[in-house]
Amino acid sequence: MVDPLNKRDETVRTATTLPPSLEAQTAEQKLQTMLSALWERSRHTVAERAALLQEAGKLWADDRLDEATRLRAVDSAHKLAGVLGTFGLPRGTELAREAEQVFGQPILPGKAAAERLLLLLAELTSLIDRGPFGPR
């Protein structure tokens, strides 16, 4: 792949730079192996986004959520919704979409809704910890 402005991308193994151990695999197996490696590199960022959502949820439950944090939560939830299912965590996408929808409201519903969202976000964090390819 060609991505001169993104240094991280230069480290990605592509179909033409596979190590010998991958040569005998089918294309699908190669892709799974590459996705697993990419997940390992990405899980920290993914976990940070989930942590931001949890923090925003706690602030909301305490009635201390400011507008900037709410908007960051919407952005994080949107990104998680897009990427988790692609990595093989469709339930993660569902949970992130729900968080995006909730935080996307300019006026958030009451405390009971916040408590419910915190439960969903705990499930999201647990899913991410386990990962799509099994525990670390």
């Binding site: 990605v12 592509t14 179909a15 190669k30 692609t86 979409r97």
Partner: protein, 127 residues
């Protein structure tokens, strides 16, 4: 036939997964861009066979990027597929009017992304 696809998305992970998918499963050449501005530059220079364009991006979003691509004589002929996490009915109609070839949804299945693109663009399955 080896296709050349330009992926424009501000999300590293999405760019990487889509790129790996298209290279590994379909054997296509992949070009990456992390913003609408960079995407327009790369489309103009590289002349890909198609562009996979994210909708929600900071600074220049997908629809604005699409309009600029379609307004340029150097890129207007390149089919653009939008990649989005959420599109509602009115948006779909608006995107169609803007000349988008197809809309694909996140999350996508890396194993079938190339097939989705081929089908949407009427390409042969083997690319």
């Amino acid at each position: 036939m080896t296709r050349r696809i330009l992926i424009i998305d501000d999300e590293d992970d999405i760019r990487q997964v889509a790129g790996m998918s298209l290279e590994t499963i379909a054997g296509w050449d992949v070009i990456l861009a992390n913003s609408g501005k960079q995407g327009i530059e790369r489309a103009t220079k590289e002349q890909p066979d198609a562009i996979l364009l994210d909708v929600m991006m900071p600074e220049m979003d997908g629809p604005t990027t699409l309009l600029k691509l379609k307004a340029s004589g150097q890129t207007s002929h390149i089919p653009v597929l939008l990649l989005t996490a959420k599109v509602q009915g009115p948006d779909q109609r608006r995107f169609a009017e803007m000349g988008v070839a197809a809309i694909l949804f996140k999350p996508f299945d890396p194993l079938t992304l190339a097939r989705q693109i081929s089908t949407a663009l009427g390409w042969r399955e083997d690319g």
